[in-house]
């Protein structure tokens, strides 16, 4: 036994006698994780969160979350002598007078954009592959919660520097609060400690931004990861992969090296962006005052679709009985996002209700094999994307020499017309891909090699797929639509038959598919 082994043994013994960790670690260090590039998306979100904690902590050492008025006399000459809030002044100080301060600010902001982008793309991966199905519905809801809180956290974060752009964002948030029926103006006065902007709001959201929400994030992320660990990761279908097993590499050493290494890569790339790609140059915007604004005011991308919805809303307000309801704010700002996030959170339950499928699923779906779900996802994405495009309508107008009116009308009509079109097209594409898969299994791959038969006919040689490829294209199950009789055995209409009619109809739509080849089909072809 070498000296090193002896020391390690002593330490391990000390810890294990007090925690019994050896038993748990023995089992979990060999835990198997399936390998696929798309499983790294959630990792990127996790690592960005760690980067946000580290860079954010650095920023708190200098940032002063106060709206008290000060006169600037730091090293950035163009703003010298200007009145501004202490929050803005300290952000300038971090940017110009703290070595590495601007770098850290930019890393923090880039990490926030990457955090939310990674969450969204991870969510899309989980959605389109059906990874949210039983037993993972809880984790899906946690994920939707993390996305929602992430958007709020990001908004609060870029509101803190109190520059002209962020102050405008706060002004809009205040207008949304104020628009709430009955309680709006009271809530706005409570949130801002009086009239907008006051001196209370930034100190308050600072506490929420650096303490309350990060704490909730930590708790939710921990549970999210524990569930992934406990339920074991899903895997893509393929030879040797079943619902009953998990195929991949063990945690130690391969995944420790890969995941640990990947953290450093994400951090490195974020740092590189922070070094070379300027983001949120607040010194160009100037301090906030409610009487000024800069043209081309844009929120960060994850708020852009909401802003786009607000921009395209029709000018509707109700005035009755001495009260006002601003539909032009409530519908795009609260009601539509509310419906979207609720629908997102409930989707696993809705799908399982439609399909009647209550079994556990650990093998992922290929999106083409579930045309309805895929089409619905693309439809929701189209809706959000048009919102996002309209959120940048002023920038698009100047870059592409269009008028705001053209883009606005495109969005207003497009947001109603294009999502259903996207649904139909996506569904058709999925079914065509299924048909192509069927062809491939039955007739093999086109080799492009032409041969001439003795009697003069030219034919192309088709090369049959190997067993593994065939398995990949045919392993999925195809379930028939739910049979929900509207009448009972005696021919009497069942109660709730409208719901079951709807359910049966949706189930029929959800199970529309191109029949995969049966073994008889394959045999028949082989005998040719």
């Amino acid at each position: 036994m070498t000296a090193r082994e002896r020391i390690a043994g002593t330490v391990a013994n000390y810890v294990d006698e007090r925690t019994g960790a050896a038993k748990w670690l023995k089992k979990n260090l060999t835990k198997v994780f399936p390998d696929h590039w798309s499983f790294m998306l959630g990792e990127i979100a996790l690592y960005s969160f760690v980067i946000l904690l580290l860079s954010g902590t650095f920023l708190t050492f200098w940032f002063d979350p106060s709206q008290k008025e000060v006169i600037y006399n730091g090293s950035y000459q163009p703003l010298s002598g200007l009145k501004m809030s202490a929050a803005y002044e300290s952000t300038l100080h971090i940017s110009f007078d703290v070595r590495g301060g601007l770098l850290m600010r930019q890393i923090h902001h880039w990490a926030a954009l990457i955090f939310l982008a990674a969450i969204v793309v991870h969510l899309l991966r989980v959605y389109f592959t059906g990874a949210f199905r039983k037993p993972r519905e809880f984790n899906w809801i946690l994920g939707v919660g993390l996305l929602t809180l992430g958007i709020v956290e990001g908004f609060l974060g870029y509101s803190l520097p109190d520059d002209l752009l962020s102050g405008t964002g706060i002004r809009i948030a205040e207008a949304i609060i104020q628009a709430l029926p009955v309680v709006g103006s009271y809530l706005a006065y409570f949130a801002f400690g009086g009239a907008f902007p006051g001196e209370a709001f930034i100190p308050r959201i600072y506490t929420v931004h650096i303490l309350l929400l990060p704490g909730i994030f930590l708790a939710l992320i921990t549970v999210h990861l524990m569930l992934v660990w406990y339920q074991k990761h899903t895997q893509y279908p393929g030879p040797g992969r079943t619902e009953k097993n998990v195929v991949g590499y063990p945690l130690m050493p391969v995944y420790m090296a890969k995941a640990g290494g990947f953290f450093f890569i994400v951090f490195g790339i974020t740092a590189f962006l922070g070094a070379v790609a300027s983001i949120n140059p607040i010194w160009l915007y100037g301090p906030y005052t409610p009487g000024q604004i800069s043209a081309g005011s844009q929120p960060d991308w994850y708020m852009g679709w909401l802003d786009g919805l607000v921009r395209m809303a029709p000018p509707l307000e109700t005035h009755a009985f001495g009260h006002t309801i601003s539909w032009n704010i409530l519908i795009p700002g609260l009601i539509i996002p509310g419906i979207m996030f609720t629908g997102l959170a409930l989707y696993p339950f809705i799908e399982s209700w439609i399909t009647g499928d209550k079994r556990e699923h650990h093998l992922l779906d290929r999106p083409r094999n579930v045309p309805n779900r895929t089409a619905l996802g693309v439809m929701a994405l189209t809706f959000t994307l048009i919102g996002l495009i309209n959120g940048g309508n002023d920038i698009i107008a100047t870059h592409f020499h269009l008028t705001i009116n053209q883009i606005m009308w495109f969005s207003r009509i497009g947001i109603i017309v294009l999502p259903p079109i996207a649904f139909v097209i996506t569904k058709r594409i999925c079914l065509s891909l299924q048909r192509a898969d069927r062809e491939l299994v039955l007739h093999g791959r086109e080799t492009g090699r032409l041969i001439r038969l003795p009697h003069g006919e030219f034919v192309e040689v088709h090369e049959p797929l190997n067993q593994e490829q065939m398995w990949k294209l045919t392993q999925h199950e195809q379930t028939p639509a739910l049979a929900l009789p509207e009448t009972d055995n005696a021919g009497v209409r069942r109660p709730k038959s409208i719901t079951s009619k709807l359910r049966a109809r949706m189930s029929r739509a959800a199970t529309e598919q191109v029949a995969k080849p049966t073994s008889d089909d394959i045999k028949a072809i082989e005998h040719h």
Binding site: P239, V276, G291, I293
Partner: protein
């Protein structure tokens, strides 16, 4: 549920393909060197970072293509840091890919659900424990506990009451009074009609009394745009027309949609545009909304002249300025 037998048999996990470094000592040595070089690059990154922190002055700018003038200290600090982190990651992953075992392993899954036996035991335990507490048998305790918990839940709401004052009438009022002079912002100079040419636009605020301070909250409600056009271009009701003075018209600068400052004036079309959500207001028709999400025209401020010939407000705003709220009556 159709579980039609798959037409093709699952061929099972494909045979493992060995990598070059698994059996060729030369390739193995090469992979080892690659990993070491990557880790060494990381160390160089840290050296660059330390050098930049200590030796590059904070006010040194260098010119780079695309990026333009860039602060050298921040740039090299960042590139050093990026390299120091990135290459640790690359090294670790190269190590895992080339030298660590790459045999795929199969582990078994088990259904999440507990065994029937465990479930039955669980139900028995819960029933027994709940029975000893006797919650079902003691409705008085149950109800009083419910009451107490419900009331405790109210306390955070109560304690948060002092976050702010009640709005009272404040959202409906501004600092403009009859006779308040219009002053330039910035500059605080009173304005005569002759100061504004046709086509000109100015941001104004109400004049402060001696010793009075202007807060941002005041500006958020009081900011007014003064625009001068040719009087014959107005298409206003007689009342609103009487609120103008020699082609000079005043509107609240705070958007009636979500309160952004309306800063874009198109002289040719005489349109005001809010840069936040592109609501467009026609100045000639009393800031009527001609495009975008705003539902109301901008409130107009009635103008007249005082004895010295300076522009003053003839009366306070006739309606609340800024975004709508529940208590707003029109």
């Amino acid at each position: 549920m159709s579980t039609e037998i798959a037409p093709v048999e699952d061929p099972g996990l494909p045979a493992h393909i060995h990598r070059k470094a698994d059996h060729d000592p030369v390739a193995e040595k090469k992979a080892e060197r690659q990993v070491a070089i990557l880790f060494a690059l990381s160390a160089l990154g840290t050296v660059l970072m330390i050098y930049s922190y200590i030796f590059i002055p904070g006010d040194k700018f260098i010119f780079l293509p695309i990026m333009g003038n860039t602060n050298a200290s921040q740039l090299f600090l960042g590139i050093g840091m990026a390299a120091s982190l990135f290459f640790i990651g690359m090294g670790a992953i190269q190590w895992a890919r080339t030298l660590m075992p790459d045999n795929e392993v199969i582990a078994q899954r088990h259904e999440m659900r507990s065994s029937d036996e465990d479930r039955a035991d669980f139900v028995d335990t819960v029933k027994e424990r709940a029975g000893t507490a006797g919650l079902g048998r003691r409705p008085l305790i149950k109800r009083s506990l419910g009451l107490a918990l419900g009331l405790v839940g109210l306390s955070p709401v109560l304690l948060l009451r002092d976050l702010g004052p009640l709005p009272k009438m404040e959202l409906s009022q501004t600092s403009w009074r009859a006779g308040t002079r219009l002053v330039t912002d910035p500059g605080d100079r009173p304005i005569k009609p002759s100061d504004l040419e046709v086509g000109a636009v100015a941001q104004v605020l109400p004049e402060l009394a001696k010793g009075q301070e202007r807060t941002l909250a005041d500006i958020g409600k009081d900011a007014v745009l003064l625009i001068r056009i040719r009087p014959q271009d107005f298409q206003l009701s007689p009342e609103k027309l009487s609120w103008t003075h020699e082609g000079i018209i005043a509107f609240s600068k705070i958007c009636s949609h979500m309160g952004c400052a309306i800063a874009l004036y198109e002289q040719q079309t005489k349109h005001l545009l809010c840069p936040c959500h592109q609501s467009t207001f026609d100045v000639t028709r009393g800031a009527k909304v001609i495009f975008g999400p705003a539902a109301r025209p901008l409130p107009q401020l009635a103008l007249s002249l005082d004895a010295e010939g300076y522009l003053v407000a003839r009366q306070p705003f006739a309606e609340p300025v800024g975004p709508s709220f529940w208590e707003r009556s029109s």
